[in-house]
Symmetry: C2
Subunit: 391 residues, 2 copies
Amino acid sequence: MKNFTYYQPTRIVFGAGESEKIGTYLSSISRRVLLVYGEGSVIRSGLLERVKNSLDKEGVEYVEMGGVKPNPRLSLVEKGIALVRQHGLDAVLAVGGGSVIDTAKSIGIGVKYEGDVWDFYSKGLVPQETIPVAVVLTIAAAGSECSNSNVITNDYLHLPEKRGINYDVTRPVLAVMDPTLTYTLPAYQTAAGGYDIMAHVMERYFTREEGVDFTDRMCEATLKTVIRALPIALSTPDDYDSRSQLMWASTIAHNDLLSTGRVGDWASHRMAHQPSALYDLTHGAALSIIFPAWMRYVYKSDVKRFAQFAVRVWDVEPDFGDMEKTALKGIERMEDFIRKIGLPLTFTDAGIPYSRFEEMALRATGGDSFKLGAFYPLTSRDILDIYHSVI
Amino acid sequence: MKNFTYYQPTRIVFGAGESEKIGTYLSSISRRVLLVYGEGSVIRSGLLERVKNSLDKEGVEYVEMGGVKPNPRLSLVEKGIALVRQHGLDAVLAVGGGSVIDTAKSIGIGVKYEGDVWDFYSKGLVPQETIPVAVVLTIAAAGSECSNSNVITNDYLHLPEKRGINYDVTRPVLAVMDPTLTYTLPAYQTAAGGYDIMAHVMERYFTREEGVDFTDRMCEATLKTVIRALPIALSTPDDYDSRSQLMWASTIAHNDLLSTGRVGDWASHRMAHQPSALYDLTHGAALSIIFPAWMRYVYKSDVKRFAQFAVRVWDVEPDFGDMEKTALKGIERMEDFIRKIGLPLTFTDAGIPYSRFEEMALRATGGDSFKLGAFYPLTSRDILDIYHSVI
């Protein structure tokens, strides 16, 4: 187990109806906020109106910026920074999922920086401060409501580039999590969000670090929760039990509790970012293609860990004479699960051509001379093989 | 699942050697601290000297107050409050386990209150602020390093009274957790600390709340971690793997993550506080007597939950035709475990007479007309029966 620091100061307010009280919770943090949201659903569902009413009631003023898209764009972040400065706002309220929250986080650090906010993503510049970011969460998926991560796509480049950063300063100060808001999500979004949760756990689970029994078991607990709850949420969208388990699991999956003392891999995320950036493929769907392919490519290098995954997470009966077979059975069970929840397992399933695999593989590593991932460092050549294995 | 708020702002620094750097971590919080510690081991082990050297090196001044005993006393809390005021200190550094940390927390809120600090414990007065409390943890047990709880014994009363409070304001700002500090603990302290961790989880686990699958599984993960690690730590005291798993589990067991959305019971804790207050019985040892007795007294009221506990935590093979038998088997396994780690299962084992059971039972409920616990509300009569069942 590695030494670690853990700092998770986000105040979480969780439960049915809490989103209606956002004004009350926010008013002690700010009285002038930038209200950031997405495109259609938050308006259609009436949530935006209810949030505004709550802000009005508590005397919190706001300037609106809608239009955040999946794989959120740098250009909109810049617009948000300009709005905050122009109107003298002092906090950002994100109403939405990962893309909206990531946009808000990026605005938060951008406002406090005089240069180009993309410097944080492209030059390794470390953000020192942010204006406070608060969240009303509408989907169980990215875990951005408490995480120190955000991912932005630079849409000014000829070939759009998707890049993530991880700094504690970007953790929101407040996350209001109301599982009933996820009742109206399309099934595909629910499924993709659920698989994103699982991927966040699995990136941490596959480690070479020894002496991490506790976080192993916490990872397994989180995965089993999603495996149980997700199919119920898909068949009964207004089932509070499964929706609430998914929402709470999405936060814990990515607030770094599960990576304490471990070194995660994250190659699958970076491999999945490439088709998402080029073809606007939903993050969870990119992961459902890439993650099983990555597992099949690397599992022989650590049969013991993949067998543990199979037995403890997927209830595979151990084949004591053939642990490799046991390990493989776990991957198969996961693929069956992906099929069952309606996500793609191949690029063809997702309608994505394979004309640009070489380009994607090079961008995933950052060039021929670099390797990607900690559990099993991959060359661009390995990544190309992985992409090709799931045409 | 109930609505909840969750706020855990303690900055955690975890790992071998981190305790030596306390001065560096503390210096950004305070330059004048009250240094609180216990009786012998922290001095004998050289830890206190190393902490002081680190403080000196970083220019953090301190006033010392040693002598904290298990079941920490109100009189020493009052002394600490006076020292802080007299020397114009602005933070408390606790070097020790639960008793030392609880003393520090109580001093923290006491300094900011003009009245008698016991008011918070006896009158339900809510503390509004505290001076910052930082911790160097020396035992995996109480979880006080991140919890919102502290328990103090009023030693001015003819019959000493042990009372706990729970307020977010008392959570420490910094917890430095170095598992190597626990290598030299006597086996009995290691065992009692380990069972205390388990009890913190079990108080949360036994709930009537439905729709809490995720926290159920997280509780089970924590219990299984302790069940695996504790016997190793007892047989190989300097095994870093098991010591680090126990220390991290002790924090998570009691920082309220595992009670999110649930209603815990806590009757066993309150029942165990009584013999501890009267006979200075170690907290974990009082719990190892009381908790199995409580389980045997109440399990028939929720066989399903106790069967889940047996199967998922203690690997009991389900008897599908007799879930009551399955449930009972889990309790038996736990009793075997308590024997194996060398803790008492009866008052006689602990050398405690049974002359004052009635008095203890009345104090546990707070009087004949009150009931104790949420999972299975107990009368003083029930408690008396439970005490008598483990003479």
